[in-house]
């Protein structure tokens, strides 16, 4: 929760890109979070019967605290319903229809009670290039990619690695967003908890295949000017960052810094509550730690 607002993540991608697989995985293992997923079709949600708590036409409740809510009545209805459950939910994930524009749906992440966490667009490694040239849906697929904060390549296991890598390079050339390969850790998908305690420390687990998490705490307010510089200098490997900081020109308010792939947002979400002023970054395996440290130190 951020200042009482529920973080909202949008999951888009064309038919067969793996959206439902991702949603089902989140519901089966929500990593301690109570997630509300908003979907067009309950029929594809595959829940272990032992997890099923209650079920009606519009809302399905799970024993792990997650719920699944139908979008049949539209976004306004569904978000009103979720807002009524405030306090029982930690996060919202919206599954966009296969032809939907996730960037448009993301605008619902700015309505009162919610805060946009990011737009994740999934692509099927095998079909995405062909689809992007399709007479009927090429533009739709390209528009989805253009609106992504993070692109996640799925079904790579069905292809030769060199083919997948080629697809990933093709995507990286085309979109500003980082291109990741599924499965993606929850901390990357949803971003880190902004209250970190491993201040610029090298994590214990520094195997080269792990994502890197680094954070920084601030004792004094951060200057507005340094935020602008920082926002423009993100090292390529940083895929996520989140901070709740006190800023010099608005010291009585909480300023939320968020990096989701290529998109950085800076927003005020309520009065300063006297908590910790800190920022946490997550980077892809192999990213230079020195570069991340240098980047986080730009905030001053």
């Amino acid at each position: 929760m951020t200042g009482g607002r529920l973080p909202l993540t949008v999951v888009g991608g064309y038919l067969g890109a793996g959206k439902t697989t991702l949603i089902n995985a989140l519901l089966a293992d929500p990593a301690g979070e109570r997630i509300a997923v908003l979907v067009n079709d309950f029929g594809d949600i595959d829940i272990d019967a032992r997890l099923m708590d209650s079920d009606d036409a519009d809302v399905m409740s799970l024993t792990n605290g997650c719920i699944c809510c139908s979008l049949a009545d539209g976004f306004a209805e569904a978000l009103d319903r979720i807002r009524d459950l405030a306090g029982r939910i930690d996060r919202v994930v919206i599954e966009v229809s296969g032809v939907g524009d996730p960037r448009k749906v993301a605008q619902w992440g700015h309505v009162p009670g919610f805060t946009l966490d990011g737009v994740v667009v999934l692509v099927d490694a095998k079909t995405v290039r062909e689809r992007s040239r399709d007479r009927y849906v090429g533009e739709t697929v390209l528009a989805q990619l253009a609106g992504a904060d993070l692109v996640v390549v799925t079904r790579a296991d069905l292809l030769d690695d060199t083919v997948t890598s080629e697809v990933e390079r093709w995507l990286a050339d085309m979109v500003a967003a980082p291109v990741l390969r599924a499965p993606v850790p929850t901390a990357v998908l949803f971003g880190p908890d902004p209250i970190g305690d491993d201040t610029l420390a090298v994590p214990e687990d520094h195997a080269s295949t792990s994502h890197i998490s680094m954070s920084r705490r601030f004792d004094a307010p951060v200057s507005r000017g340094s935020i602008d510089v920082w926002a423009d200098a993100r090292p390529g490997g940083v895929v996520r960052a989140k901070g709740i900081v006190r800023v010099d020109d608005r010291p009585d308010e909480r300023t939320v810094l968020q990096v989701c792939g290529a998109t950085t947002t800076v927003a005020v979400d309520g009065p300063w509550d006297g908590g910790e002023s800190a920022v946490v970054a997550i980077a892809l395996p192999g990213t230079s730690r020195a570069a991340i440290v240098k980047w986080l130190k730009l905030l001053r």
Partner: protein, 548 residues
């Protein structure tokens, strides 16, 4: 009560080629018993003559095969569109042709609301007709600085609100939503674009759309129908009719004797909680037994694309003018056959919204695939809107046994914009090509898509006959059809597409006594005055509804 009523008229046009005209119609128990001369009909035992329509002209009641329930409900809010419109009590509101006229209209509405906490809700604003003049919050602040104002644009994708509403709902410089344009100082100008931004209007947004769900809205639909001479109309997929509360609400109002029209409620799978179309088809089929004389259930609407004036319809090459990107799919093209197939196999009738010609291509391919796998006679699946359908596509439509319901009213309301902005003069001239469809033998209807354009079959017929734009240009004279063909399209043609042609749509013994009462003969007036023929009321199943 079995009483035979003879209704003499100046003339009865039956739309039945075997007996095109009559002096009078005899009605018993809501059905037509006979047509003929008054003398002939008086031979019927126990018949009495009711001369109330002696100087009127009777035709089969008009049938609107593409309208929406909201056409009535929306009148709970203040109209401020560019063209004049008639409300459910028969009052015609002149069009607001400038921002100043919009403000005057809203001021009058503001003065009429006693409770200062009550919002002022308005609809129909169409700034496309006064280019260069954008309605913003500061205009609405001239109406009120204390009452919340919410003005929905004609496209329904946009609203303009006043400053007090923005302050109440926290819409300000920190608002991140993309559809909230701001001025040079960073303050929102009062426009809320697309649903997520409109939702920021909070409780005002909810009261605008919430009120449309009241019973009163359905009653208003009946009122505007009888004023327009429409005796059967549709809600084409805009109500969640598989929800018990919704279907009960419709049944409660429509089945009431006082309600002056028959309504066919189409199911839109968008409202189904399931994405499994076979399940959705079973849900619709389960609704069929709830059909009554007046309320009809069991048909399905699929929406493939958006609108041409909204630049969201899917167009074939060369798409829109000025390099505007092609439109948006509402269903993934490769799923259309699956959706259609499920309803088709369940024996249901499907009407598919296809504004653009590329959407038509996708639908025709789907129909071909579905029919190859599951042949079915007399399916009557229908291409709705069909605005840019080419002659080649119409030949496929005919071969596949499909119908077309053409959006003729577009020629008048947006014809000039289609020439200048959307597709250019050449393609605009062949938009809504009713002549081509008829010549190829496609079962034709024409429609208003009310409330997108005002409910009014005479206006739609006038458009198809004259093809005049609001700016006075004849758009594609080669696509004009005759008065008879146009009136057939809004009676029997539409009834056919609703599978009701054996009971309504023409006047013949054994059909329902559904009639429109006109003050002049539409076959006698100058065709350019067809839309001005006054409607005096309707008869529904023998019951008189004066209208207005």
């Amino acid at each position: 009560m079995t009483q035979t009523m003879i209704l003499p008229a100046a003339v009865v046009h039956t739309m039945d080629p075997n007996h095109p005209q009559a002096e009078a119609v005899a009605v018993r128990d809501g059905w037509i018993l006979a047509l003929g001369t008054v003398d002939d009909l008086q031979a019927i035992d126990g018949a009495t003559v009711d001369s109330r329509y002696a100087d009127k002209v009777l035709l089969p009641g008009f049938v609107e095969a593409h309208s929406h329930g909201m056409a009535g409900a929306i009148w709970q809010h203040t109209y401020c569109g560019f063209f004049g419109r008639t409300d459910p009590v028969g009052r015609t509101w002149p069009g607001c042709t400038s921002v100043d006229e919009v403000i005057d209209r809203l001021r009058a509405a503001d003065a009429a609301i006693a409770d200062p906490g009550e919002p002022l809700l308005a609809w129909g604003l169409d700034p496309i007709y006064f280019p260069g003049d954008r309605l913003v919050a500061t205009h609405l602040d001239r109406v009120s600085t204390t009452r919340r104002i919410f003005v929905l644009h004609a496209s329904a994708h946009l609203a303009t609100v006043n400053t007090v509403l923005m302050e109440a709902e926290g819409i300000g410089p920190d608002t991140l939503t993309e559809g909230v344009p701001k001025d040079a100082e960073g303050w929102p100008i009062g426009e809320l674009q697309e649903p997520a931004a409109m939702f920021l209007a909070g409780r005002t947004f909810r009261s605008f759309f919430g009120r449309l769900q009241a019973d009163e809205g359905i009653r208003h639909l009946g009122d505007i129908a009888s004023i327009a001479g429409v005796t059967t109309l549709t809600d084409l997929g805009t109500s969640a009719i598989t929800a018990e509360a919704t279907i009960s609400r419709w049944a409660g109002v429509v089945d009431d004797e006082a309600f002056p029209a028959r309504v066919s409620l189409f199911h839109n799978p968008r409202f189904a909680a399931t994405g499994d179309m076979d399940e959705a088809a079973a849900e619709v089929a389960a609704l069929c037994p709830r059909s009554s004389d007046k309320l009809r259930l069991g048909h399905v609407k699929l929406v493939l694309d958006g609108s041409i004036q909204g630049l969201t319809a899917r167009l074939r090459h060369p798409s829109y003018l000025n390099n505007v990107p092609n439109g948006l799919w509402q269903i993934p093209p490769e799923q259309v056959a699956g959706h259609l197939g499920a309803f088709h196999r369940a024996g249901l009738l499907v009407h598919a919204h296809c504004n653009g010609d590329e959407a038509v291509d996708v639908f025709l391919d789907a129909v071909e695939e579905v029919l190859a796998a599951s042949p079915r006679l007399d399916h009557r699946h229908t291409v709705q809107h069909s605005q840019l359908t080419t002659p080649g596509q119409y030949r496929r439509i005919a071969a596949l046994g499909l119908c077309a319901n053409v959006f003729s009213n577009h020629t008048f309301f947006w014809g000039d914009q289609h020439v200048s902005t959307t597709v250019g003069a050449d393609r605009a001239a062949r938009m809504n090509s009713a002549r081509t469809a008829l010549d190829i033998g496609v079962p034709l209807s024409i429609h208003t898509d009310a409330p997108v354009t005002p409910l009014g079959s005479l206006h739609a017929a006038w458009c198809a006959v004259n093809r005049l734009t609001a700016g006075g240009r004849v758009l594609g004279p080669g696509e004009r059809i005759s008065v008879y063909e146009a009136l057939r399209a809004v009676t029997l043609g539409a009834a056919y597409q609703l599978k009701m042609d054996d009971e309504i749509g023409s006047l013949a013994p054994g059909k329902r006594a559904d009639m429109v009462v006109l003050d002049a003969d539409p076959f006698d007036v100058d065709p350019v005055e067809l839309r001005d023929v006054p409607v005096a009321g309707t008869v529904l199943g023998g019951t008189h509804h004066p209208g207005g």
